[in-house]
Amino acid sequence: MKYSVYLLLLAALHAAPIVIKNATVLTVTKGTFVGSVVIRDGKIVEMGEKVTEPAGAEIIDASGKYLMPGIIDCHSHIASDAINEGSVSVSSMVGIEDTINPDDIAIYRALAGGVTTANVLHGSANSIGGKTVVMKMRWGKDSRDMIFEGAKPGIKFALGENPKRAGNPGGQRINANAVLRYPATRMGVEDVIREAFNDAKIYQAQWKEYNEKTARGEQLLAPRRDLKLDALVEVLEGKRFVHAHCYRQDEILMLLRVADDYGFKIRTLQHVLEGYKVAKEIAEHGAGASTFSDWWSYKVEAFDAIPYNAAIMVRKGVLVSLNSDSAELMRHLNDEAAKTMKYGGLSETEALSLITINPAKQLDIDKRVGSIEVGKDADLVIFDEHPLSNYAKVEKVFVDGQAYFDRNKDLADRAQREAEKAKLLEKEKQKEKEKRPGAGANPSSLPKKAALDGDGYTAGSSPNSIAHSHRSSVPLGVWHVTPVRRATV
């Protein structure tokens, strides 16, 4: 174990420094210049119009290109095998960390859109959902290495339509035969959260008393460990961030007041589509807001959503980021940021901040990422045009100074990948043929055979329906509920 760590360290130390030169460098926090950035041991060690190029450095000429910090998505559900523990309305005992799937192709696709860090959240089926995890898009590494080391863990809360859906007798539930689950109203959502923190306070006091008494040498039986309440005590003690899914102004305000009452902070309000109506109160509480650029009208609570939301909140002093909640949208958060220039007149730097330094601050990882500064992680993206142009595309992405995406390499590898796939398919076909004689028709093999014949039954493809378009579906956080709900309505 120690040996391998040593080897890794050695490898890192010996990786050649990289100099990205002649780029238009959009630092986000330190202005824009045309010049170079020097990377060594995964960190930015020097930058400026003129730098000293270390001997043996790999030189990347980015003339005419743009270099920006890796994009940070404050709300994603990629790379996890399950996201909604929907059986209970408080599911703080479960965590995304236990479901990380490092092979999810969405990771690579996110990289190809310039995303280097994502806050991967539990779904929104519960008033208090599961624990969340911040990941770096280290495609190819295992699930442990995906985790952003040192990033403070979080927990998902959800307000409004989604958490009350399971209590709706109208049939919008996971299963028409399922038992109704409290709450069914926004009033109930508040109560569920209050009850949980009431319990957490009592539990916290029990442990405090136990710890104090045993410290004094008393012999006592420890209180019963409660994994659900442990996470909430961490919230009370500021050791775990609350990321709360919300839409309407009433529920936003409700949560801020509940948090005030119990003495904890809401780190980020997620979606927060009516945040612009209570921007003052959000700013006063000190909560961050992570929203969509222009989603609206997909449900009642999204009908007052406006694309000016981010801009108004910025102007009123809220720390704002734009997020995706979608494996698709995640791939062009830079386009989403550009929309805030149209809707509300944010400057280029303000727009870029929404997808870089602001989400970094919201996740308390801004000492490491979110801007191009000496000493920060070399999480960088090279675009062929200005990233706020809709004509721009990502060319190269570095995480910890290592290139994890390279468009030219991706293009060059395609022929080989196609050949590999053809070979595998041929092998499968051969296997099918060998099975066929004598054995007769095997009904269970039909789909497989069909996939080979390419007749429309290929696993992993979406149905021939425009209604299944990702853009017209509700956010991914409720994706797991949505198709069912529609199927049963």
Binding site: K280, Y298, A338, S462, H470
Partner: protein
């Protein structure tokens, strides 16, 4: 006599059109049909473009719009929306996008377009002046298979309307009542991609069942066309006591080649099937929302089949597709010589139409083609090539004045004209913006 004269004078503007004449002056004009013109002027009278040039004089009574440093483009056309048919997609009562039943050619989207929909001014504010309203799904919601049971799609879903995004009533919005006959080509539905935590038994249907449904639907489709032709023949013979059938009656413009079939076909096989079917039936065809092209391009080109492409910003269809498969698809169509336009296939993102085109351009589509695919190509596909889609003399003055390239998100649309009329850019979103931006801080 005096009062008669007064009436005559008052009605003069209506007759001569002097009050709606306007001259846009000093702008960079992007006609789409030709090269851009710097410091150009456009003269509009009676809702039409009557002059384009460098030094056009403004006739007396003409309103002059100084547009120095600005750009003028034709209004954009969104070739697939549900504008006016659906308001809040999750609320059944507000959604009228698709009827019950497999064959509904008699349905007309136009009569269900709610001119007061909040989506219309929101979409218009981004420079979109014209839209196809497409009846698309089954059962009143945004239909299609939901993965439950032996899911099936309806086949003929009704007549698509081409409308201007301005008017007090749907009649005033009308451009073409029946621009296309919307249809889903029967397919064998694929299993849902990912249903995560949901109980698996909700999504269980066998391949054999799906195939049976597919074959039955194909038979029904052929039979329906066959019946329609018999009806056409019977009607032509003008027999005494001939009874009108509204469904078959609605099919006549399709059979006569006047109205194209607009066929949803995502996969290469469905596209192939649709092209063959349209060829056999000798009907015009527009492929809608294809997700791949494969080898279908050659046949499409040969048969003059056009396409309406869905959102460019989509995930690839398969896990092992190149990451940019959806981004490069428009260029594939272009290279195959298939004429296409873009549609958003929803309302929520209808205003983002130009960015579909921009992303396609980032991934290979020539920029002038990208612009055409939201303007002139669309006009031509819908048979309105002589009226909209470019800035040319004699065309309707559907124009937008912008401060830059409309395919860029940061560009602002400053003014919009539909048939020469200055259209209000105000909408629900702007009103809420202004209201809450000005919320007092104390």
């Amino acid at each position: 006599m005096k009062s008669l004269l007064l009436i005559f004078v008052l009605s003069l503007p209506l007759l001569a059109g002097t009050d709606d004449s306007l001259l846009i002056r000093g702008a960079t004009i992007h006609p789409v049909s030709g090269p851009e013109m710097k410091d150009g002027s456009i003269l509009v009278r009676d809702g039409k473009i009557v002059g384009i040039g460098h030094n056009l004089a403004a006739p007396r009574g003409t309103r002059v719009i100084e547009a120095k440093g600005m750009h003028v483009y034709p209004g954009m056309i969104n070739s697939a929306t549900q504008l006016g048919l659906a308001e809040i997609s999750a609320v059944r009562e507000s959604v009228d996008t698709g009827e019950i039943g497999d064959f509904n050619p008699q349905l007309r989207a136009e009569v269900a377009v709610n001119p007061s929909s909040d989506h219309i001014p929101v979409t218009r504010a981004n420079g979109i002046t014209t839209a196809i309203v497409l009846p698309m799904g089954a059962g009143g919601g945004e239909g299609g298979p939901r993965g439950g049971g032996n899911a099936r799609q309806p086949i003929i879903t009704g007549q698509a309307a081409l409308v201007h995004l301005d008017g007090w009533t749907w009649e005033e919005m009308d451009i073409k009542k029946s621009a296309g006959m919307a249809m889903h080509f029967p397919i064998i539905p694929s299993p849902p991609q990912r249903f995560g935590d949901a109980p698996p038994n909700l999504f269980r249907y066998s391949y054999a069942d799906s195939k049976k449904t597919y074959e039955a639907q194909l038979r029904d489709l052929h039979e329906f066309f066959e019946q329609s032709r018999r009806y056409q023949k019977a009607k032509a013979a003008k027999p005494a006591g001939f009874k009108i059938d509204l469904k078959y009656e609605a099919m006549l413009p399709v059979l006569e080649g006047k109205t194209p079939l607009v066929v949803m076909a995502n996969r290469e096989r469905a596209i192939d099937d649709a092209v063959k079917f349209a060829d056999e039936q000798k009907v015009r065809l527009v492929i809608a929302n294809p997700k791949e092209l494969g080898k279908a391009g050659a046949a499409m080109k040969a048969k003059g089949v056009t396409a309406i492409l869905g959102p460019t910003l989509e995930l690839p269809e398969h896990n092992d597709d190149p990451y940019d498969a959806a981004y490069t698809l428009p260029n594939e169509f272009y290279k195959a010589g298939v004429k296409f336009a873009f549609g958003s296939f929803d309302n929520q993102f209808a205003r983002n139409l130009p960015y579909q085109a921009a992303t396609a351009a980032a991934f290979g589509l020539p920029r002038e083609e990208a612009l055409k695919s939201v303007t002139l190509n669309a006009a031509q596909i819908w048979g309105l090539g002589d009226k909209i889609g470019s800035i040319e003399e004699g065309k309707w003055a559907d124009l937008m004045i912008t401060d830059g390239d409309p395919l860029e998100a940061k560009t602002q649309v400053k003014q919009l004209f539909i048939k020469g009329k200055n259209v209000d850019l105000d909408n629900k979103h702007r009103r809420l913006y202004e209201k809450y931006l000005n919320r007092p801080s104390t």
